[in-house]
Amino acid sequence: MIAAPSSGVNLDMFNSARLRIIGRRLLQAIPVIVLSTFIVFGLLKLVPGDVAVTLAGDNASDQRIAEIRELYGLNQPFLLQYGSWLWKAMHGDLSNSLISNESVLTSIQRCLPHTLLIVALALLTALIIGIPLGIAAATKPGSWIDSIVMAIASLGVAVPNFWLGMLLVAFFSLQLNWLPATGAASLMKDPWAALSHAILPALALASGGIAEVARQLRSSLVEILSSQQVRTLHAKGLPPSSILWRHGLKNVSVNLLTVVSLLANRMLAATVVVEAVFAIPGMGGLIVNAAMHRDFPVVQGVVFAMVLIVVTLNLLTDIFYSVLDPRISS
């Protein structure tokens, strides 16, 4: 059942305890998915408005709308409609969009990479900029560096990312013409174009993340660095850099991981707005359009995919927790 222990490079990532955790988490994901899609489906049915009206078109008549309901099975009982969607989804069929008839799986396969790319890039940016800022502030608490970093952090949290996005476009695209203002490209087909399209939205998305990483890192690092343990290390004569890197950062890594995992989830949600500003054909745009028209197979499909991603992210976080701090896995 357990793979042979590897030559001890990384402890062993998948010992039996961990496998059990993974298995349990995956099992837990099933009710989460069912429940969330059920709630979303219920919300879509509760709010007024009807996809049949959209489908019947501009010259709709009451009779035609009733006919459409019949044709698309929209007049069936709520539970039956949800049940038939779930049954198909369990068999790998996410149905087609009621409006445009595109397969929901195709839509998701096309949109998801765009969204993941900007979220990954934003996360990376938040870490690359946020960590040095946090360290700089923590090592000299109360200094002018600390004040500046904390000012930047407050600003980063306060600035709405859609507004920042528009400013970035105005400057980098419209004025300097360095980067495209809208759209997205496939990372597989044209990596350079994909990155150049993703930079500005990722920056807009990252502003809050940079702030959060810097703040959290600073406060937990300050706490560690002023602890008795660190005082002992100083007394032992360890150089400050070694204290910071080997003892300080290692201790705050669990906190940092928590921040990153929460951030990733939040950024996925924030793409709904950022994608609209940059006209990125991603998951955000997909679900907004679908929800507006009550195109529930698409909404359900997106929710399904998003829940899957969030559950996976949380699972990965849990695994990394126990790698970073073996006490957690017990």
Partner: protein, 517 residues
């Protein structure tokens, strides 16, 4: 910055045509050079405002589909850009008697898949549009009793009742011919694999992202189209769409809101096009029940509205104050009833008092959540408020609110929305005011009005039809069956290399005249 403003025209159409005839006049007016030789080739990139509902004209439904559909489908009948007067497209029509319409199809037209566009194909299409379960356009052709092939290139329609709106109807979805071979092969999967006989053929459609079409080599009109292809990048946020044109990623954005006009004008190398359309921003009234079943209350609403101020405040002046459901440039406009409701809050109060609402009254009103709709709602709220009509707003998405108002729930007394216009005015009145029409929330109508709507389709002579429409408009305006506010002008942003673009009165761009310089 160059501005083509066809909006302020006090010119009549024949004056316009006379002006366009002279090349010197064309240059002097700064009009695009559609009279000159157009260059062939190139791919036009367009920011399109909405994902289509379907690329099958029979199964789709959104008014925003047309601009995309027309690239792939030619229609049996076309219209004049400035007046929407029908003119021959792939076919010429005639009415040998009021209940017979004959379509003579031009020779040598082929669908993109090579299928001949002949009488058989036309009959197939008309029958499908009339009877197919999935067809949304059955009502458009309800007057057709049968379609017979009477020659290799001739189809004869037997009508249940005289219907001279049919030419205009055949310039719309019902006249977009799809390849019968394709439909037979695809069955119910026709939405995403369009094959027509238009200037461009379908390449791909990714929902909410992109639609690509490329030149149809065997297109029947010699020398056309100019463009090798068109790429529609679907951008629903119109400020973002405009930014994409400013940044040079797209060559053109259309159907922009008036508030973006200063942004277009500020940008270097962009051309602004604005032009009148049939798009009528109006208040829909549910007059089947109290309090709007009272004529005086409905008239009070109409007197309370200051349409000139509305155009200034909500459309930055890019519109025409609306006195009825047709704009003044339309061939069926009735100027005799245009001055019936000047802005007069005192008169409105007096009418309310007569109706028994001495202290004013409260009405419920539905509206949408987008920026432009909210602003319109605020202005209306203020104007009605000054006459003692307090409105209570409920806002939501278009699908949600309009269904609550028009469909079975019948919420709200009023709805702030728009009528997007139809090629034939009889469609406008039939769909919006006739008994049991969906866009007539109360579903009631004066039998006289219903009779006139039918009568408006009897004569082929536009002057005679205009007389009937004059009567229809008198009834709708005198009875204050709606409160029209403004005809919104079309606003488009074009990069300088886009040549030959001509807006039309329907406000749904066609790309057939465009070339890239």
């Amino acid at each position: 910055m160059k501005t083509i403003d066809l909006g302020k025209r006090t010119l009549r159409r024949r004056d316009m045509l006379a002006l366009m005839g002279g090349a010197a006049a064309t240059g002097a007016l700064g009009l695009p050079a559609w009279a000159q030789e157009a260059k062939k080739g190139g791919v036009l990139k367009v920011a399109a405002p909405a994902n289509p509902s379907s690329l099958d004209p029979a199964t789709g439904g959104a008014g925003s589909d047309h601009s995309i559909l027309w690239t792939m489908y030619d229609t049996l009948v076309e219209w004049d850009y400035e007046t929407l007067k029908p003119k021959p497209g792939m076919a010429k029509w005639s009415f040998p008697d009021p209940k017979t319409m004959v379509l003579d199809i031009s020779a040598g037209i082929k669908f993109h898949d090579g299928t001949p566009m002949d009488a058989e194909a036309v009959k197939f299409n008309l029958d499908r549009n009339r009877t197919d379960q999935r067809s949304n356009i059955k009502p458009d052709l309800s007057s057709v009793d049968s379609a017979e092939v009477t020659g290799p290139l001739q189809v004869t329609l037997k009508l249940k009742n005289p219907d001279t709106a049919l030419p205009a109807i055949l310039s719309d979805r019902a006249g977009m011919m799809v390849s019968p071979t394709n439909i037979k092969a695809l069955g119910n999967e026709t939405d995403r694999k369009p094959v027509g006989a238009g200037p461009w053929k379908f390449v791909r459609w990714n929902d909410n992202e992109i639609i690509v079409v490329m030149r149809h080599a065997d297109y029947w009109r010699p020398g056309r189209p100019y463009l090798d292809g068109i790429e529609f990048n679907i951008i629903t946020e119109n400020a973002t769409a405009l930014r994409s044109v400013v940044a040079g990623q797209n060559d053109m954005a259309f159907a922009l809101p008036a508030r973006l006009k200063p942004v277009i004008e500020r940008a270097k190398n962009l051309t602004t096009v604005s032009s009148p359309t049939l798009y009528c921003i109006q208040l829909y009234l549910n007059y089947a029940r109290a309090p709007l079943d009272n004529l005086k209350v409905r008239q009070a609403i109409n007197f309370a509205l200051d349409r000139d101020a509305f155009v200034k405040a909500t459309l930055s002046g890019l519109g025409e104050p609306a006195r009825m459901t047709l704009p003044s440039s339309h061939w069926a406009f009735n100027k005799d009833v245009a001055g019936m409701y000047p802005h007069n809050p005192e008169k409105a109060k007096q009418l309310l008092a007569e109706a028994g609402y001495k202290d004013g009254l409260e009405l419920t009103i539905g509206g949408y959540t987008d920026q432009d709709s909210v602003r319109r709602g605020e202005v209306i709220q203020d104007q009605l408020g000054k006459a003692g009509i307090r409105v209570k707003f409920t806002r939501g998405t278009i699908a949600e609110i309009s269904a609550q108002f028009f469909a079975t729930e019948k919420k709200f007394d009023l709805l702030v929305s728009a009528w997007t216009g139809r090629p034939d005015p009889s469609m406008t009145y039939g769909l919006g005011f006739d008994k049991d029409a969906y866009y007539n929330a109360g579903r009631t109508a004066d039998p006289e009005l219903s009779k006139l709507i039918k009568e408006s389709r009897v004569s082929e002579d536009l002057a005679k039809r205009a007389e009937v429409f004059a009567k229809i408009q008198r009834i709708t305006v005198e009875n204050a069956l709606s409160a029209p506010l403004a005809f919104q002008f079309e606003l488009d942003a074009l990069s300088e290399k886009v040549k030959g673009f001509k807006p039309n009165l329907l406000g749904k761009p066609k790309f057939e005249n465009i070339s890239l310089g």
